[in-house]
Amino acid sequence: MIFVREIRKSFGRVEAVRGVSFAVEPGEIVGLLGPNGAGKSTTIRVIAGYLTPDGGAVQIDGFDTQTHSLQARRRIGYLPESAPVYPEMSVAGYLDYRARLFGLDRAARRKALGTALDRCRIADVARRRVGDLSKGYKQRVGLASALLHDPPVLILDEPSNGLDPSQIRETRSLVKDLAEKRTMIVSSHILPEVERLATRLVVIAGGRKRADGDLRDLLSRQTTRTLVAEVQDHTGAFTTTVGATRGVQRVGRSDADAPGWVRLTIEVLPSAPDPRPEIARQAAAAGVALRELREERPSIERLFLELVESGDGQAGPA
């Protein structure tokens, strides 16, 4: 289990992390989400024990990373951003070195090496120099080194950074496989990546936690619902009618992809009754052709923008 309490970290005058708290239960994959420069990597580095926080505390399986640093670190498998690995070493040599650092004896090392090479699908490059490998392979070597000691806690900082789409898919499936019975934090600024991997989201922006919760719960908390309608409304009269419908906050108007058709983006209060039947009735009454009327699925992109741009520090339960 990971327990993060009120951590703060500044670099000179820049406050990178300002009192972030959350907990990750065993078996949970938490997606740490935020724009570039939000404080994600600093938070991750504090949790992994690379940086000492100015305030607050982190516990890994009950061990404080400051007072029982080595015990805490023994329980963590950490993949830093861009997976820095010694380029002059062979893949097998590097993994053997890492296994020794984690205190694995000869038999355990051999077993761990075989498992990590197979699991991360890098057995075919085991004898090659790390510096000669592609970025995708290097990332997998970094991941393999994080798994060697079979840690109960995995912390992955931007695991898909710089990978091509097929490598991203492979890494994602690998991370999902690894998630069983492990506590995991995956940091990313790629929203679909986190959406597919995480069971829970922690959104960080400006060094503060903006939201924390189950993805579906967070999506349902969005402050507006959006409808999309495509109509033939050359005069704009129907747009005005829709704008006056009960529960409708605002109507946006743009050209649709077919000539003569107009796309209306209708923002509706979440508490209001569904206005679609009323809009359909109004279209029929006005003789306006209506070819589409649907509610836009709540998206993680919209949620993310709402949370990051709100800047109100609104945080859900930790």
């Binding site: 670099f11 580095r45 992994a48 024990g49 690379y50 940086l51 000492t52 080595l70 015990q71 670190r73 023994r74 963590i76 950490y78 830093p80 861009s82 820095p84 690995v85 010694y86 002059e88 070493m89 070195y97 890492r98 020794r100 650092l101 984690f102 205190g103 970094g142 080194s145």
Partner: protein, 239 residues
């Protein structure tokens, strides 16, 4: 300590995998070998005094070249992140890195054992073993101190060039202390300079004198600079 040995072995192997390691060894052996060959004069008494004298000066540019990568390169490439989040204390990291550099220096000096072996084989009378042993002890102690200075400096920066230069100048200072102290300095300052001077101690070693005070000086110096390296490494976690 197993982990310190693991780090030392990786460090040593890495130096031999990079061209800079081989270049340093080749240049050192070329220069010291030339000095040894020139000093071999038929009929003259067998001595390695010139070899030890030149080697001691050569350590001044060579030791920073060995130590500059130790921690600076790790920081520049970000490979210190996996290292410092492994269950290894900062003390073990510093000792491992230092031991790796020290072993590389020992590997560099090892082929020069051929020189006394040659003298033993061809010279008559045979060379006195005392100054030879003292000469090697002096080289190892001086090298150990310079590498410790280099480790401390390397822990403070991410630039190898800066690490090299910032190691070179303190070593030069230690070599010149006492030797160039002007008479205008107060007596206490000249005494302090003489006490800290490496050259005065090296001169005793060259005469075959192995003084425990000199050994203590180098060992305390090593411990002090390794302590500084440890503090500098620990401070990275705060910055």
């Amino acid at each position: 300590m197993n982990q310190a040995w693991t780090i030392a072995r990786r460090e040593l192997a890495s130096m031999f995998r990079l061209p800079v390691g081989w270049v340093v060894i080749a240049l050192f052996l070329l220069l010291t070998g030339s000095v040894f060959a020139v000093a071999l004069v038929p009929g003259a008494p067998a001595s390695l005094r010139d070899f030890f004298g030149v080697s001691a000066w050569l350590l001044m540019p060579v030791a920073p070249a060995i130590s500059m990568r130790l921690l600076a390169e790790e920081r520049r490439t970000g490979s210190d992140e996996p290292l410092l989040t492994a269950p290894v204390s900062d003390t073990v990291v510093v000792l491992g890195k230092y031991l790796g550099a020290w072993l590389f220096m020992a590997c560099m000096l090892a082929p020069t054992l051929l020189f006394p072996a040659v003298l033993w084989a061809v010279a008559d009378p045979k060379p006195d073993p005392g100054p030879v042993l003292a000469g090697y002890a002096s080289l190892l102690l001086q090298g150990s101190l310079y590498l410790a200075i280099g480790a401390a400096v390397s822990a403070m920066t991410s630039s190898q060039t800066l690490a090299y230069l910032a190691t070179l100048f303190p070593i030069l200072g230690l070599l010149l202390l006492g030797a160039v102290a002007p008479d205008t300095l107060p007596a206490w300052a000249r005494a302090a300079g003489a006490a800290l001077s490496v050259q005065a101690r090296a001169a005793d070693f060259a005469r075959g004198i192995i003084d425990t005070a000199h050994i203590a000086y180098f060992l305390v110096g090593c411990a002090w600079f390794l302590g500084l390296a440890h503090t500098a490494l620990g401070s990275r976690r705060w910055r």
